[in-house]
């Protein structure tokens, strides 16, 4: 294993890594998150699915406080989510995030994108940061693009760089906010394959997605959300073959039968 491996020695160790208790959030009059209780264990891959506007992206973004919450608590690795400031920045460094629109730093090269957090947050040595960045870029299959700017890459390549940028911080957990929704169909698989590999390596992942194939093959658990609530949680097999709630049955019937 190389030094950039994300295999955790404590993969086998149990324990709750991310715990949401009674989380509530409003956007004006809209109650986007209603009494959310969700626990994610170390090494677990949880896929959050549901119709548009069900609050799944918001849920994902509350976990590193890109969205604030109105009520309830979120703890990561036993520590409650800090308010703004140094503590929050430190926590965010431990929580990797991959966005729908990639959000690579447009004025920096691919390599610089992956090095920046290591240099400025982890205060790593430049040479080591560069080695690690190159190794991670190789791992996600874009090593040859290191010196290009994000705009010169395809969407799939950009998203893989974004994954490498998040991994460079050695995160405890990775959040994926609809990582393939902005991609052309033929580029979706290259990103999903990287995510599959991460899941196999034991990374704790929370993935908001519409990719049911990924949910089936990589998830330990599927969380189904609708109208700001968690309606149902089950293993992928159970959820897709025998959903418990009418809302989930309705949702699945609309997306699966063609």
């Amino acid at each position: 294993m190389t030094e950039v491996s994300v295999v955790k020695e404590d993969v086998a160790a149990t324990g709750d890594l991310v715990v949401l208790k009674n989380v509530n959030k409003h956007f004006g009059a809209l109650h986007v998150l209603q009494d959310i209780d969700l626990t994610i264990a170390r090494g677990e891959v949880v896929v959050v699915i549901g119709p548009s506007g069900s609050g799944k992206s918001t849920l994902c973004r509350t976990i590193n406080r890109l969205e604030t919450i109105d009520g309830g608590t979120i703890t990561i690795d036993g520590r409650p989510l800090p308010q703004e400031g140094k503590e929050l920045a430190r926590l965010r460094a431990d929580v990797g995030m991959v966005f729908q629109s990639f959000n690579l730093f447009a004025h920096k090269t691919v390599l610089e994108n992956v090095m920046l957090g290591q240099l400025k947050v982890r205060k790593a040595d430049r040479k080591q940061a560069q080695e690690k960045a190159r190794a991670l870029l190789d791992r996600v299959g874009v090593g040859t693009q290191a010196d290009k700017y994000p705009a010169q890459l395809s969407g799939g390549q950009q998203q893989r760089v974004a994954i490498a940028r998040a991994l460079a911080m050695d995160p405890k957990v990775m959040l994926f906010d609809e990582p393939t929704s902005a991609l052309d169909p033929e580029m979706i698989n290259e990103v999903l394959e990287v995510m599959q590999q991460l899941a196999r390596d034991g990374m704790t992942m929370i993935v908001v997605t519409h990719e049911m194939g990924f949910a089936r093959s990589a998830a330990n658990r599927v969380v189904f959300m609708a109208d700001g609530r968690i309606v149902e949680q089950a293993t992928p097999d159970q959820f897709f073959s025998n959903p418990a709630s009418d809302r989930a049955k309705d949702f699945l019937s609309k997306i699966l039968h063609h």
Partner: protein, 235 residues
């Protein structure tokens, strides 16, 4: 066709004899120095103001907004005269200068900086608005704090987006340095006034100074326009 000056060298002396005895280049050098010092000062102060205006601290936002709205709405002449009659004469601010000439120069730079910074701030703030929100979110998501996010991610992209508007501000500043004449700084406009009083060829004097300013500002505009294209952030 041979030029008149080549065949009759004395013609040059006759046509331009109104320039004799005046240090036109020296006066324009003072203009250049006023411009450069004020440009650097207003870039720094304007950037700080812009940072305040987008900061999460309400007090700083309030200060930035108040400063810009007050200062950009006061005529530059009033500000520059205030630095001399107000700051220097009443409050005794001399900016470490020992003689009157140096003091006037420094006060003029202070006034020009205070005024121009308001415009730099607003240009920069519009540049910050061109940077997609996702850029700052991604920066925060890898653990950068507010000032790192601003310094490393948002401002570098914002600056590249507003090189054009900043070139406008710089050209305006170059011409605005003429206001320093109001507090007796010996820059180009002050010398022009003296020469118009003493010489008969007033139109020629005006033309020489107009030409001098075009020589200063035209290359600035062309160079920064080229730079803006070169440094544009591709998205």
């Amino acid at each position: 066709m041979p030029s008149t000056y080549a065949t009759h060298p004395e013609a040059r002396e006759i046509v331009f004899d109104f320039l004799q005895g005046y240090d036109v280049l020296g006066a324009f050098w003072t203009t250049v120095k006023l411009t450069v010092f004020s440009a650097v000062g207003s870039l720094v102060w304007g950037t700080l103001l812009a940072a305040m205006r987008v900061s999460p601290v309400p007090l700083m936002r309030g200060f930035g907004t108040a400063y810009v709205n007050i200062v950009r709405n006061i005529p530059l002449t009033v500000i520059v005269i205030f630095t001399s009659l107000g700051l220097a004469d009443i409050f005794g601010v001399t900016l470490g200068a020992s003689d009157f000439k140096v003091q006037g120069f420094r006060l003029a730079v202070l006034g020009l900086t205070a005024y121009t910074a308001a415009f730099v701030c607003e240009a920069l703030r519009s540049g910050i608005n061109t940077v997609p929100v996702g850029q700052a979110e991604a920066a925060r998501a890898i653990g950068l704090n507010f000032s790192q996010t601003l310094r490393l991610i948002v401002l570098p992209q914002a600056f590249r987006a507003v090189i054009g508007p900043l070139a406008n501000v710089l050209i305006a500043l170059t011409k605005n340095t003429t206001v320093a004449a109001a507090i007796s700084v010996a820059e180009a406009a002050a010398l022009m006034k003296t020469m118009i009083e003493n010489e008969a060829q007033t139109v020629a004097v005006g033309a020489v100074f107009a030409f001098g300013f075009v020589v200063l500002t035209l290359p600035t505009g062309l160079f920064l326009g080229w730079l803006a294209k070169r440094l544009a952030v591709k998205r």
